[in-house]
């Protein structure tokens, strides 16, 4: 009698465990199905963009879906360059995004270091005021900023595209947090050796925070490369337009030349997508950083 009871119990336990494993496997399967459906929804526009860019015009205007192009047709990629000054716009975007990134790294490192390490009256108040500027929407400042640029005769110049973004509270805040997490002892040794504060920053502090600089740099590059409203406002000449403005104008101009439009968007997004795929972790970290509670 006692033996059967234990047997029953053992069997029960085995059944229960099997049930748990089964529901767990089924649950995991469901998780994957949901995630895959989500991933298809997220990636489909990119796939469709790429596929369309290789198609003939005749293959685009069909009532039933034709997924794959019958052959790799590069006409779209060729035509863009004659439709708008695409090469020049590409160059403009690179010049602006790289300049903004470099300026941001320098100004943010300097400001972040001052806020983290240097002692001056009103430091924390200045920091709080500077930080609160992050909540001012760009749209609230855009009209006077434009008037200012026009007054200084800087419309259609790189200066107007770069200068407003050459420094900003986000970068200063990010690097300040990073500097504050570093031990002071390394710097103190260098200061006792007679190194100036700027010397310490350049040769002791910055080499130690390369990851933070890479993260901030990628973030700023992405931001500047993708910016649309300000370049739209502050440029008039085709030769000074950036890629994003060029794309929007191309869309208005040729409206339904989809293979060409898709080819142009592919070329305009490739630099960012390549950078993202090469440095996913830093990109995602920089985004997560914007969610920090400050």
């Amino acid at each position: 009698m006692p033996v059967t009871v234990t047997n029953n119990r053992a069997a029960e336990a085995i059944r229960a465990r099997r049930r748990r494993v089964l529901t767990k496997t089924a649950g995991l399967g469901l998780v994957h199905i949901v995630l895959i459906l989500g991933a298809i929804f997220m990636v489909l526009p990119f796939v469709w963009m790429l596929l369309t860019s290789f198609k003939d015009r005749s293959e685009v205007f069909t009532y039933s879906i034709q997924w794959l192009p019958s052959r790799i047709n590069l006409d779209g990629y060729r035509e863009v360059w004659s439709e708008i000054p695409f090469a020049r716009m590409y160059l403009n975007s690179f010049i602006v995004a790289i300049s903004v990134t470099v300026c941001q790294l320098v100004t943010s490192a300097l400001a972040g270091y001052a806020f983290a390490r240097l002692d001056f009256p009103g430091r924390d108040v200045v920091f709080m005021i500077y930080l609160s500027a992050m909540m001012i929407p760009h749209q609230a400042t855009v009209i006077p900023s434009f008037l200012l640029m026009r007054k200084f005769n800087m419309v259609d110049r790189y200066t107007s595209l770069i200068l407003p973004f050459a420094a900003g509270p986000f970068g200063a805040f990010m690097l300040r947090q990073f500097f504050m997490s570093m031990p002071r002892s390394l710097e103190e040794a260098a200061i006792i050796d007679g190194c100036s504060r700027f010397g310490v920053l350049r040769s002791v502090v910055l080499p130690l925070c390369k990851p933070a600089l890479v993260t901030l740099g990628l973030f700023q590059f992405m931001f500047s490369w993708n910016d649309f409203m300000w370049p739209l406002i502050v440029t008039n000449k085709m030769s000074m337009r950036t890629l994003q403005v060029g794309l929007a104008l191309l869309r208005a101009e040729v409206s339904t030349e989809w293979p060409m439009l898709m080819a142009a968007t592919v070329m305009a997004t490739v630099p960012i997508l390549v950078a993202f795929l090469a440095a996913q972790r830093q990109f995602i970290e920089s985004i997560a950083f914007t969610g920090l509670k400050y």
Binding site: F46, A248, L273
Partner: protein, 294 residues
């Protein structure tokens, strides 16, 4: 000794001033001055092209609230926020919770969901315009396979805003997901384990463990996405130009047109300040919420 430390002190102040100078100059020129100057402009009737300015007091604000187009754009902006924020937050929470476990292909999913975040709004808006094409677009072709006669999307005043909302959700999902994932890392796994011992299912664990501990991140995402949704511009510029029949006219696009197409810089500044006030209130709400959390 005393004079030495005083000298060091003044040296440090000088260093701090030099380090902060570039950031403060940019801040003063492109944030402080424009914010104040646009408030000043909002009390005048003036043209972006120059010419005489007449003081109208609060006239621009009165005109704004009486203007039908402004009211439509405000209503559309609110609809856009209501359409994107809760659904977007719920979907990204789902993605974050599913990805917060040890499952195969986690890195792939994260990249897929995050890709739209790094791509420019102009580029993806062009791709989505193509997918929303009433005759040859991907969506209606897929809907037809399911036996549904798809709407004309961007060409139909009833469907244009929903189409812009779908793009908005798609574009921001990855961003919110990353913020939630960061929040989920702070939930101790022991909490789930003890909930499991108490017999809690997946939903109960989410409802009684995850949700309460994630209130901070949820609040941040809700308010940040609301602020962002009040700033939509790029997709409206590219996809609809505010139409058809003003059905996608939103606040920032309205400001842009008033200022840079109709040259009403005084009036546009008043609308911009109104937008700023709305965002300020939202930010203060967020700060108060975070304070209540801690």
């Amino acid at each position: 000794m005393n004079t030495c430390s005083a000298r060091l002190h003044s040296e440090e102040r000088k260093t701090a001033l030099i380090a902060l100078l570039p950031s403060l100059v940019v801040f003063a020129l492109f944030t402080v001055y424009p914010v104040i100057y646009s408030l000043y402009l909002s009390f005048f009737d003036c043209s972006l092209l120059g010419g005489p300015r007449t003081f109208v007091g609060l006239g621009n604000y009165a005109k704004m609230f009486a203007n039908a187009d402004f009211r439509v754009s405000m209503a559309n902006t609110v609809k856009y926020a209501v359409g994107t924020v809760p659904v977007g937050a719920a979907l990204s929470m789902l993605a974050a919770v599913l990805l917060n476990q040890k499952i195969r292909g986690r890195g792939f999913y994260r990249v897929a969901y995050f890709m739209p975040v790094v791509t420019s709004m102009v580029a993806v808006a062009i791709v989505w315009t193509w997918m929303f094409d009433p005759y040859y677009g991907l969506f209606n072709a897929l809907l037809e396979k399911m036996g549904i006669n798809g709407p004309a999307w961007l060409a139909d005043a009833r469907w244009s805003l929903p189409a812009v909302i779908i793009l908005g959700i798609w574009k921001n999902l990855g961003y919110n997901m990353v913020i939630f994932l960061a929040g989920l890392q702070d939930v101790p796994t022991e909490y789930y384990e003890s909930a499991e011992i108490d017999g809690a299912g997946a939903w109960q664990k989410f409802r009684y463990v995850t949700m309460p501990l994630m209130r901070g991140s949820i609040g941040f995402v809700l308010i940040m996405s609301t602020i962002k949704s009040f700033q939509v511009f790029g997709q409206v510029y590219v996809m609809t130009g505010g139409g058809p029949m003003n059905s996608t006219m939103v606040l920032v696009y309205y400001i842009y047109r008033q200022a840079f197409e109709f040259y009403r810089s005084g009036y546009a500044s008043a609308v911009a300040w109104f937008l700023f006030a709305v965002i300020l209130v939202l930010t203060i709400l967020q700060k108060a919420f975070l304070k209540a959390e801690n």
